[in-house]
């Protein structure tokens, strides 16, 4: 018989009762405020993000401050709880700057371990959802590379960062430079945020131009690099939960639709060739859940295994989300190709997510190094 220690040392991959309650609250809010027709209407407007939804989500239920300690104005919860919020946001492809502000920017600031001063103050604002901050790095930047730093000219920040997620909605940009990490108000002189046309309309991208923008220095070079890494690692790790929620919606909807849709005088979901595809997808979703929970738990407990857990979750879950969204379109047939059906929102989000914070290939390269399976 095997030694019985594994179960006690193993990461906790289940959901706690508190997490289930949190999920129920977020799900019911999103059902009210963020159903598919609402999202579709929003993404074609000038303001894809609904400030009222953000307020209810961030401040009303208190999800924005899950990672922030209570003494800094947050909920003092952790990554496992934030992951549950992201599952729900993925399930409804909600346009909200949760991943960018409440996870990546917040985690970057938390890495600076400030008890007071501008960092602590900003964290308090982010935790209550009063303000939104994003890390000014390309959305596609993988954690180990820590993006392209802007430069510093005589106390002001200078440079261009391309493809920054949620920059247009942010109040504050966290700008990594060769000289440290700076906070730049998006409203200040010298800051231009130029919206781009994104593949995923539910998560807008923008180029950020900084021309001698006034900036507050938050950290020096070395701390900045490790803080940005930590922010991006958390982003990649918890993105897996968004991908899980997204994949789950795609599977559930596809099952529902193929049970109802009749062709050849029977529900199309009774054909074995389709059933097997959905069963296969179910298996992938079940596995993605284990991988995503493992990454969230590693981040929450500060496990030395975190970089590997995150890379495994990303290498696996991004593929599952794309596969689920692609199958969702195909098994819906013609209706799946229409703008009015929400399936395309999920495909666009899934495909964009598969590039965010490093592609699966980037994460596999990280794994090769971490577990010593070197390239030729």
């Amino acid at each position: 018989m095997t030694a019985p220690t594994e179960e006690t040392q193993a990461p906790d991959l289940l959901y706690s009762e508190a997490e289930d309650d949190l999920r129920a609250a977020v799900r019911s809010l999103l059902a009210d405020r963020c159903d598919a027709p609402t999202v579709l209407a929003r993404i074609e407007s000038d303001t894809p993000y609904d400030p009222q939804l953000w307020k209810a989500l961030a401040a009303g239920i208190g999800t924005a401050g899950l990672l922030v300690p209570e003494k800094l104005g947050g909920q003092g919860a952790g990554h496992r709880e934030a992951a549950v919020v992201l599952e729900e946001l993925g399930r409804s492809v909600a346009p909200a700057p949760y991943l960018t502000s409440a996870v990546v920017a917040t985690e970057t600031l938390l890495a600076l371990a400030a008890q007071d001063g501008p960092v602590a103050e900003l964290l308090g604002d982010l935790a209550t959802g009063r303000r939104i901050a994003v890390l000014a790095v390309p959305f596609s930047a993988p954690a180990p590379d820590a993006a392209q730093p802007a430069g510093v000219v005589a106390g002001a920040v200078e440079g261009t960062v391309t493809g920054v997620a949620d920059a247009a909605t942010a109040d504050v940009l966290l700008v990594p430079t060769t000289d440290g990490l700076y906070a730049v108000e998006t409203g200040s002189a010298g800051v231009t945020v130029e919206p781009l046309v994104p593949l995923d309309l539910t998560r807008p991208l923008a180029n950020v131009n900084l021309a001698k923008a006034a900036a507050t220095r938050l950290a020096d070079g070395a701390s900045a690099v490790s803080a940005v890494r930590r922010g991006l690692l958390a982003g990649a790790g918890l993105l897996a939960s968004e991908q899980l929620g997204l994949a789950e919606w795609c599977l559930t909807e596809t099952v529902r639709y193929t049970r109802e849709r009749h062709q050849f005088n029977r529900p199309v979901g009774s054909f074995q060739s389709l059933k097997h595809r959905m069963a296969q997808l179910w298996l992938e979703v079940v596995s993605a859940r284990a991988a995503a929970r493992n990454a969230a738990d590693a981040l929450a407990t500060g496990s030395p295994d975190t970089p590997l857990a995150v890379a495994v979750a990303q290498a696996y879950c991004s593929k599952v989300a794309v596969h689920a969204a692609e199958e969702c379109i195909q098994l819906h047939g013609g209706i799946g190709m229409t703008w009015e059906h929400p399936a395309h929102l999920y495909l666009k989000r899934a495909k964009a997510d598969s590039i965010a914070y490093g592609t699966a290939g980037h994460h596999r390269e990280a794994i090769a190094e971490l577990v010593e399976l070197p390239a030729p």
Partner: protein, 395 residues
């Protein structure tokens, strides 16, 4: 008696060890004493090797015994008895049957095999044609079974046979315990793709089984068999493994030790499979955590599907990685092994043997149907065998 907790089980285990010090006790005697102390499978009823304790506390006992160097019951050798026969006997057996069979089964004195599959009834198991005809207090059994692991070692078999050909196929089956030493039972090795005969064909000719060895009511054998099959899939997919503990282990080791074999294409495929193996391991961990938390999920059949595919892909990659050596095979001699030894033999053997992973214990196609219908709630395919008497089915 109240339900024992971890402390109580630890105390009872210490008592067992004190009364029967492993170093000074015969292996079989120790295992019998362990069974009688209720420490064999703690979730079984008192008197049948258990203490009605939560299943999740079994590791407490195992840890104490392992620390004391106590012998185990060689669970792999008696896997069919432990994983399939025992839960079925516990669920459907009479008191007499439970008393007679469970102890020697657990101790490993009696090996079990499973007489289910037939040449004409594999995935469509309920179509089986082996007949059992009532004759006084006995049933007389005639037919042929196949793919029977351990039949050449087994003392007992769980057997399903047709007792009423006029009923639709699922309703005319009964479930029996067959004595493999009885006259009329003939076991022949069945040589396989690997060159060895791990499985057998079993021919049953006029075998007399007393009615007292029937499990469950006449005609309800299919229902009883469901218990066996469900447990089979859980035991196939539910193994607990460490990182790189499965088939990926030998490939990763070869990759590390032999840089001259590396290519870019193999590297990409290896990393992809490494990730999938790690995720499958985590999924298994989560499944067991659900069981312990009392939230059993349907993921069991999913794990078997995942491991079957992974084993096949990984072992295929391994043969390629070995290049010139992959062209060779260790030994084609016809052997009759007691166990399937995946890691002890070479890559070619693993590649060939793993082809069986998606067939044994329910084909992957059958399991996908089960997931689709029972987990996802998709409609069943229209079928034309449901209300037809077995004797009128096309064969």
């Amino acid at each position: 008696m109240t339900t024992p907790d971890a402390a109580e089980l630890r105390r009872r285990t210490q008592d067992l060890l004190a009364a029967h010090p492993p170093a000074a006790t015969d292996r079989t005697d120790f295992l019998r004493a362990r069974f009688d102390a209720g420490l064999a499978w703690v979730h079984y009823p008192a008197g049948l090797g258990g203490l009605d304790a939560p299943r999740s506390l079994q590791p407490v006992v195992e840890a104490e015994l392992a620390a004391a160097g106590a012998p185990d019951n060689d669970p792999r050798r008696i896997g069919i008895g432990l994983g399939m026969a025992a839960p079925t006997i516990l669920g459907y057996g009479t008191d007499e049957q439970k008393q007679r069979f469970l102890r020697p089964l657990w101790v490993g004195e009696e090996v079990w095999c499973q007489l289910f599959s037939e040449p004409g009834a594999g995935s469509d198991l309920a179509a089986l044609g082996t007949r059992a005809v009532r004759d006084g207090e006995d049933w007389v059994v005639d037919g042929q079974k196949v793919w029977t692991s351990s039949a050449h070692l087994a003392r007992w078999a769980i057997l399903i046979a047709r007792t009423d050909p006029d009923q639709p196929k699922h309703r005319g089956i009964s479930y029996f315990i067959c004595d493999m030493t009885d006259p009329g039972v003939e076991v022949r090795p069945l040589r396989q793709i690997t060159g060895e005969a791990e499985f057998n064909e079993v021919f049953l000719t006029g075998v007399r089984i007393p009615d007292s060895r029937r499990l469950g009511p006449v005609g309800e054998g299919w229902k009883v068999a469901q218990t066996t099959l469900m447990n089979e899939r859980v035991s196939i997919g539910g193994a607990r493994i460490a990182r790189e503990g499965g088939m990926i282990g030998p490939v990763a080791r070869t990759w590390r030790e032999r840089p001259e074999l590396r290519t870019h294409d193999l590297h990409q495929r290896l990393l992809t499979l490494w990730v999938e193996a790690e995720v499958a391991r985590l999924t298994g961990t989560r499944l067991r955590q659900q069981l312990v938390a009392g939230q059993p999920g349907p993921e069991g059949s999913g794990m078997k599907l995942a491991f079957a595919r992974l084993n096949q892909e990984i072992s295929g990659l391994e043969v390629e990685l070995l290049g010139q050596e992959g062209l060779l095979y260790s030994d084609w001699t016809m052997r009759r092994p007691e166990l399937v030894d995946f890691t002890g033999r070479d890559a070619g053997y693993r590649y060939l043997r793993s082809k069986g992973n998606s067939i044994e214990g329910g084909t992957s196609e059958v399991l996908l149907n089960i997931v689709a219908e029972r987990v996802l709630g998709l409609p069943v395919e229209p079928r034309n065998d449901k209300d037809v008497a077995w004797k009128d089915l096309a064969r």
